[in-house]
């Protein structure tokens, strides 16, 4: 993993402590680090040049000179400029009131169009729409089958227009949507290289035929410098209204997204963040700016927690805590809530500064599963009253969970500690659910 920009700038400026102001040479050194960080994140080299010039102009200003922590000041400027470059606030999907509304997806091969089409259909359905998927990729073997299989999983209809060409499928797909009373059509097209004239002409012809409300270009977050060439060609030949960035669940910094926004002016509307069909999220420029700089994403973490944690279970737990009861069953249900949020390494990656952990620090993904198995191997009576778990019971539990007695002891110890903590929490009057998040450090400020 690359170091994050804050650390790098900190290293640059730490040599300067004690001095009051930044010299031109200091700013130059800082700008070299900014440039390096952006290039390593795959931001287009031209965009980097312009960007660095802009940041530099601001950084030599009076604010920084007087600032006690010039490093933080420069990071703040970089972050602001980066967010602005990505379009400031989030950009939503604009659909007209005509029925059906039409969304068309375009992009290079392997960028994830078909998966994105299914995810988008799923998202729109959650918003009360009734989507129809139209499979226009008549080239890649089994591409239409793929969309149909995804549609089946989601129970969303797919129009496949057997034997027709791509333009005709798109046109007939709209008719099919009207006949079936679907109010949104998502047209999935074949992946195509931006230098392939015939294929670009086909995409333009599909656009012409169905007059979509929105054309979205699907871009892989792992794309390098070539992203802007592809995007510029699609903008010119087909034209599009926005971008879906896919595969952001990996560790690619996604500088390509920034470059595409900077070069074509098209906003990023959605981000694909996982293999599951609900892993498509509205895009947040500020969070992306932090990601590009390697600064973690506390806001996403909190949203994920709020999404995942079952409100009923949480208030139930609160009531029990207030009365001073915390059993192994409660412990188990808490563990399950954490597991629902995803893999531990994902969660940790969202914590700012986590990339400073030693690279070899192994995250034991199995630990939670083992703990769960151990608690599940206990009888209800044991879970309610752990003090009765004696030596022979420990042995039985260890056998049941396929672990050593030592592991069972560890879990019981952890539980006792958690119980103690919970008792203290329970003693705080009004220790409500919302409070737990509001109190988290680093949420409101930019760093």
């Amino acid at each position: 993993m690359f170091e994050n920009l804050s650390d790098r700038l900190h290293a640059v400026f730490s040599k300067l402590t004690g001095r009051g102001a930044l010299s031109e040479a200091d700013v130059d050194a800082a700008m070299r680090e900014v440039r390096m960080a952006l290039l390593e994140a795959d931001v287009n080299f031209k965009t980097v040049k312009e960007f660095v010039a802009r940041v530099r102009a601001r950084a030599v200003g009076a604010d920084v000179m007087k600032s006690l922590t010039p490093g933080q000041m420069v990071v703040k400027i970089v972050l602001e400029e980066l967010t602005a470059l990505m379009g400031g606030s989030e950009s939503r999907l604009v659909l007209s009131s005509r029925t059906p509304a039409v969304i068309m997806l375009v992009g290079l091969q392997g960028s994830g169009k078909t998966t994105a089409a299914a995810k988008l259909a799923n998202l729109l359905r959650k918003q009360g729409k009734s989507p129809l998927l139209v499979a226009c990729d008549v080239y890649r073997p089994a591409a239409i089958d793929q969309l149909e299989a995804l549609g089946r999983q989601l129970e969303i209809p797919v129009y496949r227009g057997e034997g027709l060409d791509a333009v005709a499928i798109a046109r007939e797909g709209i008719k099919d949507a009207i006949a079936r009373m679907r109010d949104v059509v998502i047209v999935d097209t074949a992946g195509r290289l931006h230098v392939d004239e015939d294929m670009m002409a086909e995409a333009a012809a599909i656009r012409q035929a169905v007059r979509p409300d929105q054309v979205l270009m699907v871009i892989d977050a792992m794309t390098g410098q070539d992203a802007v060439n592809a995007a510029a060609a699609f903008a010119e030949r087909v034209d599009f209204d926005g971008v879906i960035v896919t595969k952001l669940d990996g560790d690619a910094r996604g500088g390509a997204a920034l470059s595409v926004r900077a070069v074509t002016g098209k906003p990023i509307k959605f981000a694909g963040v996982g293999e599951k069909l609900d892993a498509l999220e509205p895009f947040h420029p500020e969070r992306m700016a932090k990601r590009i700089l390697g600064m973690g994403d506390v806001v996403s973490l909190i949203e994920k927690a709020q999404d995942t944690i079952d409100a009923d279970a949480a208030s139930d737990l609160e009531a029990r805590l207030a009365s001073g009861v915390f059993t192994l069953d409660d412990f188990l249900s808490q563990l399950q809530q954490v597991r629902k949020m995803g893999s531990l390494s994902d969660i940790i990656s969202m914590i700012p500064g986590a990339n400073r952990l030693p690279k070899d620090a192994e995250i034991d993904e199995g630990a939670l599963a083992r703990t769960e198995a151990i608690i599940r191997s206990m009888t209800p009576a044991e879970r309610a009253k752990p003090s009765r778990i004696n030596g022979s019971r420990r042995e039985r539990i260890a056998n049941g969970a396929g672990v050593r007695v030592f592991d069972v002891n560890q879990v019981l110890k952890q539980f006792t500690q958690a119980q103690k903590m919970m008792k203290q929490l329970g003693a705080i009057p009004g220790g409500g659910k919302k409070r737990r998040f509001r109190g988290m450090p680093g949420v409101s400020g930019p760093f």
């Binding site: 993993m1 390096m36 290039l39 390593e40 994140a41 795959d42 080299f45 031209k46 290079l108 091969q109 392997g110 960028s111 994830g112 080239y139 890649r140 073997p141 089994a142 591409a143 089958d145 793929q146 969309l147 149909e148 299989a149 995804l150 999983q153 290289l193 931006h194 230098v195 392939d196 004239e197 015939d198 892989d220 977050a221 792992m222 794309t223 390098g224 410098q225 070539d226 992203a227 060439n229 592809a230 060609a233 595969k247 669940d249 990996g250 560790d251 690619a252 910094r253 500088g255 390509a256 293999e275 893999s343 390494s345 995250i363 993904e365």
Partner: protein
Amino acid sequence: MTQPWYKRLGNGLARTRGELQGHLNVLLRRGPDLDEQFWEELEDALLQADMGVTATTEMTGRLRDTAAREALPDATAVLARLADEIAAEVRVPGDDPFTSGPATVLVVGVNGTGKTTSVGKIAKSAADAGRHVVIGSADTFRAAAIEQLRIWAERAEVPVIERAHGADPAAVVFDTITEGRARDADLILIDTAGRLHTSSDLMAELVKVKRVADRESPHPVRVVLVMDATTGQNGLVQAREFHRALGLDGLVLTKLDGTAKGGIVVAVSRELGVPVVRVGVGEGVADLEAFEPDAFAAAIVGESPAGS
């Protein structure tokens, strides 16, 4: 085999010769002077080819020294030297896992790089060359991946082994190798599901697949990573993680027929010493070819390949 791939790059599909492809030619057209602007533009061109900031800075720095020390006369001489250096970086010794004898080859990579298509093309060319090929569809996750591979198997007229969607990929590997043994196959190709190198569960699944292959295969087991030429700096992290988990024997660089130059493989070869064994230059069956370090380097530097 008709024309070499670097020649076909120029014709075939009508293509917009982007500003990029000619970037370094522009450098030359500007004049042969080795001024500050030349060096800056050279650096930009390498960055643009996805060589990465570390490799770019190192290489241009070294070239500047060489140019001064050996009194290289002009930009043309510098570019020729640069092409040689890049070719040297990617000229990594290693057997071709597909043609150097009987083998079981696992084809791995992140999502959307072209694994299934590459397996299909390799199966077809090996079968055409008279080898006994069996392919296994261990991508039991992606919708219709099995159907996609089945179509390629029909084209190549080779048997394909599959299990239901959602089945254990290691079981598919077992079945495929068993079938391969029964048919006396000398090339067993296994297509695996695309996975991000950051997903520890899926990487662990792949390690298990490899373990089963190692245990069951009558032939040496090779692992080939498929990487998309449009991949940026994350490509190095990808290669590193797959190499750490499985040990890589080769890279297949796909989608080199666009404007992307695939410079990230220079970084991969430098750091991991894994050779590029095939490049994908088009959609046709014959468009997956042997890798030519000199032609690759010439394309990055923007020179016309020798002899064209």
